[in-house]
Amino acid sequence: MKLLKKWDIVLIAALLLIGGVWALLRLLPQEARTVTVYVGGQIWEQRTVNKNTPMYTLTPPVMPAVTLNGAGTLIWFAAADCPNQLCVKSGKLGGIACAAACLPAQIAVVVEGADAGGGLDAVTY
């Protein structure tokens, strides 16, 4: 007598396939990232981005005025209407650096889903 019938084998294969896809989805790194812009401590803008996201510009309602540019999974302070422009100097965010803030304008940007990069778990500053 055969131990397994044909449909048993099909069912087992289907279950294994489901299990495999589930495990793969859990283990694979997620390509999509989330860019969050905080103004005055509240979320002002949140968008999902990926490596194909075209260039965009954000002008949050803050003083001094600040312009943010984004493209792909990166975002950066492109301009700031203040003398020191510390936020502009922070450069592009989305890899090893994933967050920056402009205190005078009470604005902060963070990219979630980003690896620290370069084999780093975090960056202290």
Binding site: S90, L93, A97, A99, A108, L120, V123, Y125
Partner: protein, 359 residues
């Protein structure tokens, strides 16, 4: 067989809830971005719990919030303000212990750490629209004022006495030098409790650059290059779970008439510390210690920091624009670009502009 299949799907759902999942989120509190990266079971529930604790900590220590404990204490000098007003932050993160530790650190550092100079920070206004060099007389007046604080530890353990603090009328409590570390401690304490019921394989939490590393295995932490973009690091620390904080002159500053004024103020002079250092990173047994010691050591400089670091069993990396000093200094260095700080902590310089220096 069909029955087996019917069991298979619920089993998968159950396994899914037990197995650790990676989850990232951010919160903006106390002018600081908190980024949390966990690999844990019940990750969604853990996220909400951690968010609550971050908010509770802010409610206790944010001096710009008039409802916070610190805000109330500053508004009512010489009047005792009850601690623990915003719910239990877990026993070992008790607020009274924070203030007691801060007082001890202030004394041990010879005043290099001073958490009562909020008014002085206000004068300089580093985080504001128009930072300025304050009038010398104004600075002196603040430095001459009696500005300590007292903490009354709980006298009972029945859950109704949480202790209290009061601030002298010449001081303004400002936990800016320790608040990020305190938040790391609160979150670490919560993760320890969570681990008793659900698996937390790993957690990396950054509170404005103060780092909590939780879980097994080694972690790699980059130290940001001073005066460069946020993506540049000049060194990598490889270390087990623990706490790391950095104080840097490049974080908040303004330039005026060719002079750079940064936000780390010397409590003795009231002016930005000018000792050539641009960054001090400290690894310690708690977030409060690493945060407080990084500020105190920046003020003291490398040589004068050694007894303080020894007392608190902490490790440190000091940097000027070219050279790096480490404590403890286990000579000889394997090379000019790597050092063993003991306890499984190693430092590797990754930017060729820097080199390790000896005493």
């Amino acid at each position: 067989m069909v029955l087996a299949a019917l069991f298979f799907i619920p089993a998968m759902v159950k396994i899914n809830s037990i197995l650790p999942r990676t989850r990232q989120f951010s919160v903006y509190e106390m002018d600081t971005i908190v980024t949390v990266n966990t690999r844990a079971a019940k990750a969604e529930k853990l996220e909400s719990s951690l968010k609550i604790r971050i908010g509770m900590t802010a409610r206790a220590i944010d001096r710009f919030d008039p409802e916070s404990t610190v805000g109330q204490a500053n508004a009512m000098p010489r009047k005792s303000v009850r601690l623990h007003q915003f719910g239990s932050l877990d026993a070992s993160a008790d607020e009274a212990k924070w203030y007691d530790t801060i007082k001890q650190l202030q004394a041990d550092s010879g005043g290099a750490l001073d958490c009562t100079l909020g008014q002085l920070s206000n004068l300089w206004n580093f985080g504001g629209n128009a930072p300025k060099v304050p009038d010398k007389a104004e600075i002196q007046k603040l430095l001459n004022a009696k500005r300590g604080f007292e903490v009354n530890l709980p006298t009972q353990t029945d859950g109704n006495d949480y202790g209290s603090i009061f601030v002298e009328d010449g001081g303004t409590l400002d936990l800016g030098a320790v608040g990020k570390g305190i938040t790391c401690d609160v979150l670490a304490q919560y993760l320890r409790g969570w681990t008793a019921y659900h698996k937390v394989a790993r957690a990396v939490i950054s509170v404005g650059g103060s780092i909590l590393l939780y879980g097994g295995g080694a972690f790699n932490v980059g130290i940001r290059t001073p005066n460069a973009t946020a993506a540049d690091t000049f060194a990598t620390l490889t270390m087990p779970a623990g706490f790391v904080s950095t104080s840097g002159s490049y974080e908040r500053y303004f330039d005026l008439d060719g002079v750079r004024y940064h936000h780390i103020l010397d409590p003795k002079t009231g002016y930005p510390v000018q000792n050539g250092l641009v960054s001090v990173t400290v690894i310690a047994d708690s977030g409060l210690l690493s945060d407080a010691l990084s500020t105190a050591c920046f003020v003291l400089g490398y040589e004068r920091s050694k007894p303080l670091l020894e007392k608190y069993n902490a490790k440190a990396v000091f940097a000027n624009e070219q050279h790096v000093w480490v404590y403890p200094q286990n000579l000889p260095y394997p090379s000019r670009v790597s050092a063993d700080l003991g306890g499984g902590v190693t430092l590797e310089l990754t930017d060729l502009r820097y080199s390790l220096a000896e005493d």
